[in-house]
């Protein structure tokens, strides 16, 4: 081997940069890691394990505590639940964990005890059909299949938990591109198919959350 080539290799090795630091490992989208996300049981745990994921590199979450603390200063923090259709950090009264979310409801005004409740987290939603009445037990029903529709595009959402669905990056991009467009979910339950309409106010609040947590930088 020629001495100048050997010297070059040694120089590279002695630079001390890991492949991740040097961006030599190709970053992947979280879309390709949904199974791993489920196994890791939390996005923060997955990001600690696999930092090459784009969302982990660019977005802000519990894996970037300093940035997250700064982001928290720009949105309200509410114990238990924030107002409907507004972005805020939901503070768990037990663990004091602060989780960014937007909660909205879709119900018929003539029967408000029946409807859908959707909670948006940065990369997942919780969608539940509720049915109650004065004095009877509140019944939740979780859809078995959910398809999101926005701007003529449709996205089949992978189920990650009971009532929990992953939001693919394409859908996040579509929402960020047109925050005033109407968003709806086709939810299939054991009692039939339902269309869940999301208010533009809630969509706008979700966009706000994505922007604050740098998810708009994940292309």
């Amino acid at each position: 081997m020629k001495p100048w080539l050997l010297g070059g290799i040694l120089l590279l090795l002695s630079s001390g940069k890991s492949p991740v630091d040097g961006q030599t490992i190709r970053s992947v989208s979280l879309d390709q890691k949904v199974v791993e996300l489920k196994e890791a049981r939390s996005l923060a745990a997955l990001c600690a394990k696999e930092p090459q994921i784009k969302e982990c590199q660019l977005a802000i979450g519990e894996w970037k505590p300093a940035e997250l603390e700064r982001a928290k200063m720009e949105a309200p923090t509410c114990f238990d639940q924030c107002m409907l259709d507004a972005f805020g950090f939901y503070k768990d009264p037990e663990s004091s964990r602060e989780i960014p979310a937007v909660r909205t409801k879709d119900f018929d005004g003539s029967a408000p005890s029946r409807g859908f409740e959707v909670t948006f987290y940065p990369v997942a939603i919780r969608l539940v059909r509720y049915e109650g009445c004065a004095g009877c037990a509140l019944i939740y029903q979780y859809p078995t299949k959910v398809t999101a529709r926005i701007n003529g595009q449709s996205f089949a959402l992978p189920m990650v938990a009971r009532g929990g669905y992953y939001i693919p990056s394409g859908m996040r991009r579509a929402i960020l591109a047109s925050p005033t467009s109407s968003l709806s979910f086709d939810a299939q339950t054991t009692e039939g198919k339902f269309q869940v309409n999301i208010s533009t106010k809630a969509v706008k609040a979700y966009t706000e959350m994505l922007r604050l947590l740098n998810y708009d930088k994940v292309i």
Partner: protein, 231 residues
Amino acid sequence: MKALFRSLCATAILGGAAIPVSAQIGSPNVSSSSTVQNVFCEKNLKSTVTRISKTILPSGYSDLKDVQLNSDFRYPSNDLPFSEAMALNDPVTGQSVAVLDQNFIPGGSKVFSSWGRHGISIGGYWFYKTGGGFSTPIGNFVPFEADVLWISDGSSFLVIKGCNGRFTVTKEVAEALRNYPAGKNGYIRFSTEGTGSAILSEIGKSTVEAWKKVYANWTPDAPPKVESLGF
């Protein structure tokens, strides 16, 4: 009167669906048990305190209705479906899965049963009619709670002893109910407190089918939370 009995029985059996007991399947964790002096009692009796972990449901029950048991005794008319497996979320004891069943003579006696993952409850009321002829007939509803339960299990049967209408579900009981022949009605026998007779009662075939979901073979493992997956 009858409605009151019905509502009391329904409330009682529903409460039994998620009652965790140490020796049952799903192994709810009994972390401590202690005997303490009851300072509020003049007779200086000993009280016991037992700490039990709340029960959890694994993934696999997404298709079931998730009933939040948030209506208390003031609203006894629970419109919960019979013969349909349901996920239950009890604010006190935790999550469970159960199926309710009823067997009755219209206008007469009734047997309620709740087949929960961790406990079975059987109760109801007997209807006795007296008088008639030249006097006005009087109907009496007498509530009961089962204390011995017989369940068929292939070529043998299980005799399960309980009290106050409640029975613990062990692995053996769960296996017998899970493997009960589906597609037709089932039968149980039970005797009530203070009597030796073993009453035969039919269980609807939908309830028998639901037993396969309720007593499915799993070990408790909390599913991930959506908020953790999404943030």
